[in-house]
Subunit: 432 residues, 2 copies
């Protein structure tokens, strides 16, 4: 790599933005759905995205291939074609009526970086693959038993036994197996053949993505280096069980008020959570759903039952375990003290992805090299990068400032910020 390559790369990335902007406008136009865009996993919108990527990659003279799940691999040859390739990418599907940037930005930035390489005459040491991944938004499209991030997990051979049949695509009302087959790919090969990607033969994985929270806006920074991807503990079926009673005639000390029991639980859990944050731990949490039984509840009745959910996320598995036990402890204490049985029920586990320290340090160096002040922040949502990380691939993520959150039509990424992020991505690709 030339000593002054960075200045050339900065200019070349800036020049690639016109093509990238055109791509964003065209894909928005082609997948518009009311106020937002919809690109159904293994559906028409996602395929439009893949086709557009392939077309640009062909303009750039990249090699095109695919796998049995329909993931698209666009390869830019490196100096040593036998060396393990460096992969960048993200997903082309969206949630229903979502935004134009969540997912697509990561693939488009990869292609823009390759265009910049060509303009600046840069050839990385190894092949660079820009990967357009299927069905990252599986949580929005599928029900039944599945592990999410279906495209990357298929490519890495991370499917659970029979997941092709237990996952159900709600939009198509078909099993995952049938959906993949109907889309023209090969579910039997996914089930029976070795995975398309061998993690031991991947140099690294880097994903650019819009931030889904407000931190970069608040800190007035265009880009951030992701410290890790939060895992979670999720209680979907919490229940406070008390006793329905006359709201006027039952003395307070005789009551088993489920609504007051649930309120006490949530308040006390929040206090411990805030202390964990004050102690410097990484944690977010929320009850998202809470309701009494509309068939039985009433203004003048002591409430006998409340159902609610509790989601907690952290970069630290230890904090998640501690908070989960804390929640169960508070629930047990309330059950004993007020006769309202607070039962949190089963919880699901998603393991945090710490992301690789070497790659994070390299990215911080890249930020400095490209003239950007770096901010570190956690990713609250899951991403395909977590799947690569869990398979031992040195993985990293770049977040782009984005107003109004993601998964909604109001996503608001500025092209200036996207350009800064693409510079860092390109630097990561060039120096891998």
């Amino acid at each position: 790599m030339k000593d002054n390559f960075e200045q050339a790369l900065i200019i070349a990335v800036e020049e690639s933005m016109e093509r990238a902007d055109q791509f964003f406008l065209e894909i928005e136009d082609k997948t518009k759905d009311g106020p937002g865009v919809t690109r159904v996993a293994w559906g028409e919108g996602e395929q439009i995205g893949h086709d557009m990527c392939e077309a640009w990659a062909k303009e750039l003279g990249m090699e095109i291939s695919g796998d049995s799940a329909g993931n698209l691999y666009m390869t830019f040859p490196g100096e040593d074609r036998e060396a393990p390739p460096f992969i960048v990418g993200s997903h082309m599907d969206t949630v229903p009526c979502g935004g134009n940037y969540d997912g697509a930005a990561g693939v488009i930035s990869g292609l823009a970086a390759i265009q910049a390489f060509q303009a600046a005459g840069i050839t990385p040491a190894q092949d660079t693959i820009v990967m357009a991944i299927r069905a990252e938004e599986a949580g929005s499209w599928f029900s039944g038993l599945h592990g999410g991030h279906l495209g990357s997990r298929a490519a890495l051979g991370r499917f659970m036994e029979d997941e092709l049949n237990t996952a159900h695509h709600n939009y198509f009302d078909k099993s995952l197996y049938e959906v993949i087959k109907t889309a023209g790919f090969d579910p039997d090969a996914i089930a029976n053949n070795p995975p398309h990607l061998n993690p031991q033969k991947i140099k690294g994985y880097c994903e650019l993505h819009i931030e889904q929270g407000p931190i970069l806006i608040a800190e007035n920074k265009p880009v951030g280096v992701v410290s890790g991807i939060r895992g979670n503990r999720r209680f979907r079926n919490c229940k406070a069980l008390g006793e329905y009673n006359h709201g006027g005639a039952t003395p307070q000390s005789f009551r088993k008020d489920a609504a007051l029991g649930a309120a006490e639980f949530l308040y006390k859990f929040e206090q411990v959570g805030l202390q964990t944050l004050a102690d410097g731990g990484d944690l977010v949490f929320n009850p998202g759903i809470i309701h009494t039984d509309p068939d039985v509840n009433g203004l003048s009745k002591v409430c006998g039952e409340v159902n609610f959910t509790l989601d907690m996320r952290s970069e630290s598995s230890e904090i998640l375990d501690t908070m989960r036990k804390t929640a169960e402890g508070i629930a047990a204490e309330i059950s004993e003290q007020r006769g309202v049985n607070v039962d949190l029920g089963a919880f699901s586990v998603s393991v945090p992805a710490a992301l690789q320290n070497d790659e994070k340090h390299r990215m911080l160096k890249g930020c400095a090299a490209m003239g950007l002040e770096a901010t570190s922040l956690a990713s609250g949502g899951g991403h395909d990068a977590a799947e690569f990380h869990h398979e031992g691939v040195p993985s990293s993520m770049i977040f782009i400032r984005n107003e109004n959150g993601s998964h909604n039509p109001d996503e608001a990424m500025e092209m200036e910020d996207f350009c800064e992020g693409t510079k860092i991505l390109a630097w990561m690709m060039a120096t891998a």
Copy 2:
């Protein structure tokens, strides 16, 4: 009154129980509705009750009359027929699929007491009227603008302007005016004539009713002297308004979590309420309904809106006012501190009825005279007695022990306890 009349009255009341028991069985049989009974206000079941009362009163040679609202007055002549009469009674309607005793017990006990007077040769100083009151369960049968307790309020001239038209009978899908007219009574007379009862010409009012709470069961007492009827402050439309956000990507300090805001409000309000009880104040309270918006909420979303109710009741208007202000203060504090706007909205007011001290003391004396240990307790629910009290009639209430609460098919009053209560009622009538 003879000196030894009490012993004779005890025996005579006990002998009247066979007829009373028969009445309970017959009315249950005639108004059965699945597991419970249904006596619609101004409907068939209630009329069956009135007809049965009238039949028994005629057996007893009582004078029968009615008013424009359909209330039934059964008069037992006293020594001075010009003196203001003493009224006892309750209502004959029930809630939909309710229990056999809520209401009816108060009228049947009055008739049983008259039968006992005849057997024991007792003639009170003034006329005694047993009153079968219409539509006390108005809260269950009517929507629209109305003040509840429609039968007693009609008799006492307590209707609000135009209440005959603003109250809507849901079962018949008719206005109060039309329902009364269809039932064969005279709504125009209610609106235009002086009220049937002149409070200044009533010696007193005494109502026997099953307890709707668990206190007499817990204290192992067959009857209780009601200290007062709780009033209330009711917030029907409380709302915590925060902001929907990504549940993983939004740092805790950026959140405006409406569910956690509502939980904090309820927990803190409960703490103040429990302190008020510890300080000896009369108070009960409950959020009866609480729910997030099912169209928008989600496990992994910070909750933007929670709706809930808050009902608080007390024998003391001062405590109600203090607690209402406390609630609004806590709501304002939370709104300021966590950016979740907790708005309790409008509240309705029902004034407590302290009941008359002289009559309460007289009843305690009666309990002693009839060989019963007296327990004092508040009434949590509203009763017709409150309407007489608010019009200045010296009013009192006797509660009968009752398992399983009221307003449900499982009401469980024992005839032995009913007999004890009837003895006290009869004593109150005899010595008024």
